[in-house]
Point group: C2
Chain length 477, copies 2
């Protein structure tokens, strides 16, 4: 394991962008612009033979003429010119020997499954290997490190400049560039944008692959949870062993496609890698405590929950709903997950709850469920949960509220934040419904570092995934 | 069946709002404000003993002093004053005899399951019955008719005034007020707001209930599809027969909770109605072609698809994806629905597709799937689908695109609209990913009356539901 060689991807000293452009419709523009917008703290050297400057930065004709040292090279030139580009690289390496990492974003390599494409990829990797340069890609979206303010992607997320470079504990690896772009764009569109730590689209895995990146994230102290989109991998056994080893330390959440026969065939045509026997992966994931999700939304919700909430000590979750219909719907989806246990509340506590809650409320009917009724005020929203969390019976909870115009959103938001901060060891999954009407309350909660969920079923899926991992950890202590 | 008596709820000549208020935190304010904002074309009479005017309208002390005729009365006064309110109503009815419909939005009636609550509800219904007045509620959110510009709800959806009163073909009935509010708020927050025709929160069903409303929607020419949230109903057999009879004419989409034992117990505490045996409902729904959905999002997606797309003639759906990962994911979710059949494309058509699509594209590999590759331009997005739709093998389709900065969103949007308009008998489920980055393209498509979907799995669920209904119709011709 040589993690030091991957460090150059996440904290490079100066970056050259070969194929940088002033045309906003070109990837070489977006990459340069993203580096500027995230305020990459070191130097950016755009390379473009036709322009004198790119986005206000002086442009160079060749790599070899740049005087400063360069640690990372981004390639977005067409694959057809890989040979002269590699000659330029060789010249530089012979003179300065400084580049340690290449992110090759361009497509047109081995994924074409043509002799020409394969040859181009070989030219790239052979040259890189000769000078001990590590390669991510080709045919990838790029790399993000929000801590170090690096963004080599050509994904335009519309994130305002002041919101870029905000790092949480989520590191993500995607085998599909498009899926990676979707997750980035969707994550950036959330009420409170998703806080990635590191983000890698691995493309053709011509050099750096799943295993090495996973090992890098394993040792990376700022990565709390690893997300992964995968289609297949030639050495399935080895990948699963690596994932299993890491999952005993930090959670891995995986969206693996190719479940169906047709999906597997499509995956095989797509990345050229063996789709692998899905059933083998599936049972291995279960055995090793690797969390498999079934949709992009479940991935996003689960990653945020792992990053921002503490792992529940057990599966006894109490549901508090201000709204009957959504509450009952939530009970159904909880049952469906087949992992929650009903917390049995003492008569004494029930008495306290009855005193607190409005007369219309249903207390522990059925067990594990309070319908606090539409007439519940802010105090009645949160204090019942506080009473329950104070007892040993409850290990986590859901709070559902369909805000009426009569509940002050800022007050509710503030009180939920206090409640959560006072009970950090018991995760509360907050669902404030619905649509943009409730943005104010949700934003207050999210800006305090607590995730909120669109709908009860989405909160339940995320909570169930945390419990699954918690149970795995207990069994494998 | 007496539909004429329900017509007063949807097209009333003048409305009185008892309990109207100038305090924005009160339901009586929001109701009056919603009526003003939707530009209810007839007269609104706010009743409030303490104020001279409410939201700029002259206020009255009592119902009986209003000189104009009134067809609908909205009650949002506390349930504790139901007796004097009914006395005022009696006085008016004896003098003018004009009111035909009451929407009682206030809570505090039979749902409390107390003698007092039941008594109050009896006072309300007995008085109404005496004068042949129909009642929706109590304990409900209200009624909307976008065609007639009626909105009696106290749900503040943030919909701009100019976007209110836009009617599509979706009529919705909800047994839960909170669920109704969630659907309204979430529907209003979509890129292109959900186009309800009529919307009813039925609350305690003290008088008007599921069956009568369903029958009303059955005969309502502007209702194309009926959505329903239900917990339980005392006469389950009768309800199912009614639904089955209607479903043979127009689709019914139902979110029924109480699937699980605990959910059923909670439902029984909530609306006081028997939760009913879920399994009986479930098999009856299947038998009668009633579409059961499992989440609020699936409800919204399915209703929009039924309203805005034509019913597919069969289950042979072709998937076109510009993005490998999301495409494979979509194949998996299609397989999972167990209802799609693979369209087998002729060699001649495949040849045409290969000529059209970029060299990197995978044509019909596997069968029924084109990966048009990230390099596909706008023409390559749509023309392949046009070729496929021209043949008899394909009965519907999915289009997935993860927009790169290099595809002009307006051009793609316009071309998708043309493609759909030229092939109205073959529904295309459009997924443009992801987040707010792609709002422009999606908005163009949605404003042309074609739904778009957030993620491939959501499009697949909606399409599968349309196929299920189409198959039911074919079998029951």
């Amino acid at each position: 394991m040589n993690n030091s060689s991957l460090t150059s991807f996440f904290d490079p000293h100066n970056i050259a962008v070969m194929g940088a452009s002033n045309n906003p419709l070109k990837a070489g523009y977006v990459i340069t612009n993203n580096l500027l917008k995230i305020k990459y703290p070191k130097k950016i050297f755009p390379i473009n033979r036709k322009e004198d400057n790119i986005l206000g930065l002086p442009a160079y004709n060749t790599l070899s003429e740049i005087e400063d040292s360069i640690e990372m090279l981004i390639l977005i030139t067409p694959s057809s010119v890989i040979e002269p580009v590699m000659q330029d690289l060789e010249k530089r390496m012979q003179e300065k020997g400084d580049i340690k990492a290449i992110v090759c974003a361009a497509a047109g390599y081995a994924e074409l499954d043509t002799p020409e494409g394969k040859h181009r990829q070989k030219v790239l990797t052979d040259t890189a290997k000769k000078y001990n340069i590590r390669v991510i890609g080709p045919n990838c979206i790029g790399v993000v490190d929000n801590e170090k303010r690096v963004d080599t992607t050509f994904v335009e997320t519309l994130t305002p400049e002041e919101n870029r470079g905000i790092a949480g504990g989520i590191s993500f690896i995607s085998q599909s560039g498009a899926l990676a772009a979707s997750v980035l764009m969707r994550g950036a569109s959330l009420l409170s944008p998703m806080k990635f730590n590191k983000f890698v689209s691995i493309g053709n895995m011509s050099d750096v692959d799943f295993i090495e990146l996973l090992e890098h994230f394993e040792d990376d102290e700022s990565t709390r949870v690893i997300g992964m989109y995968m289609e297949g991998y030639p050495e399935g056994r080895k990948l699963i062993d690596t994932m299993g080893c890491i999952a005993s330390k930090k959670p891995i959440v995986v969206l693996k496609v190719g479940r169906s026969e047709k999906g597997a065939t499509a995956a095989s045509s797509h990345t050229g890698s063996l789709a692998g026997e899905d059933k083998i992966y599936d049972s291995a994931f279960r055995q090793y405590g690797i969390i498999r999700v079934n949709s992009i939304d479940e991935m996003i919700d689960t990653l945020r929950a792992f990053d921002q909430l503490s792992l529940p000590q057990g599966n006894k979750f109490f549901l508090t709903s201000q709204a009957g219909g959504p509450g009952i719907f939530c009970m159904d989806t909880m049952s469906n997950e087949n992992i929650f246990e009903t917390p049995m509340i003492s008569e004494e506590t029930k008495k306290k709850l009855k005193e607190l809650l409005p007369p219309m409320a249903n207390v522990c009917s059925p067990e594990g469920y309070n319908d606090i009724s539409a007439s519940a005020n802010v105090e009645q929203h949160v204090e019942g949960i506080r009473i329950l969390f104070n007892g040993p019976e409850v290990e986590g909870g859901f709070l559902i509220s369909v805000l009426t115009p009569f509940i002050p959103q800022d007050e509710l938001g503030d009180e939920i934040v206090k409640l959560c901060n006072d009970n950090k060891n018991k995760p509360l999954f907050v669902v404030i419904m619905s649509g943009n009407v409730v943005d104010k309350a949700r934003t207050i909660v999210e800006e305090a570092g607590i995730p909120t969920f669109e709908t009860p079923d989405r909160a339940v899926k995320a909570a169930a995934n945390l419990i699954r991992y918690s149970e795995f950890k207990k069994l494998n202590k």
